[in-house]
Symmetry: C2
Subunit: 89 residues, 2 copies
DNA sequence: TAACTATTTAACCGTTTAGTTAAATATAAT
DNA sequence: ATTATATTTAACTAAACGGTTAAATAGTTA
């Protein structure tokens, strides 16, 4: 859970997730959307992968990244539930 | 929004929020729950305040902290909504 | 006024973070 | 085999982070 929040704490990584919400993308396609170097993006992807927010599939020369919506939603809604039940013992 | 995710990325701060979910607490009461120094807690509270996740009221010698549930819930559910509507244009 | 208490601010320190460029790896194409 | 391409890994750097102790601030009490 800490790794997920850590992953979400960076705006570049949140934008990567938003991109992947629409479609799977290669590392290069993702990098094109930013003004930072490809190695920097690669590291961001690694952090997202570590948090299991994305997964990668190797396809020839490319790596295709896709979002793992389940982990994202379950972590956030799990956390939010802590703050929604008003009268709990 | 970035400040909220940054604030949530630290486990001590998430635990502070969980404590404040149950009741308002003074800075000292909060600090008692942790093994770190009071100045460290004070800084964490500052970050939470900066993100508007908590607010503080001065009462005599004490400062009473309370959670701002609205900001927490609206930020997280706002972000989650980005990932829930499947077919959006 | 002086002493005590709760909390924050200041100054510092080691670690982590987010970026860089250069080199390595792995696959594809000629 | 050589060259080109996509991506990652390595080595480095500056800034941010999370902690510490000591000092400052502000309110209370004797």
């Amino acid at each position: 859970m800490s790794s997920v929040f850590k992953a979400l704490s960076d705006p570049t990584r949140r934008k990567i997730l938003a991109l992947l919400r629409d479609r799977d993308m290669t590392a290069g396609e993702i990098a094109e959307q930013f003004d930072i170097s490809k190695p920097a993006i690669s590291k961001h992807l690694d952090i997202l992968k570590e948090a299991e927010l994305v997964s990668a599939e190797k396809k020839g020369l490319y790596r295709i990244y896709s979002i793992n919506l389940t982990v994202l939603q379950e972590t956030l809604s799990g956390f939010m539930n802590l703050f929604e039940k008003e009268n709990e013992e």
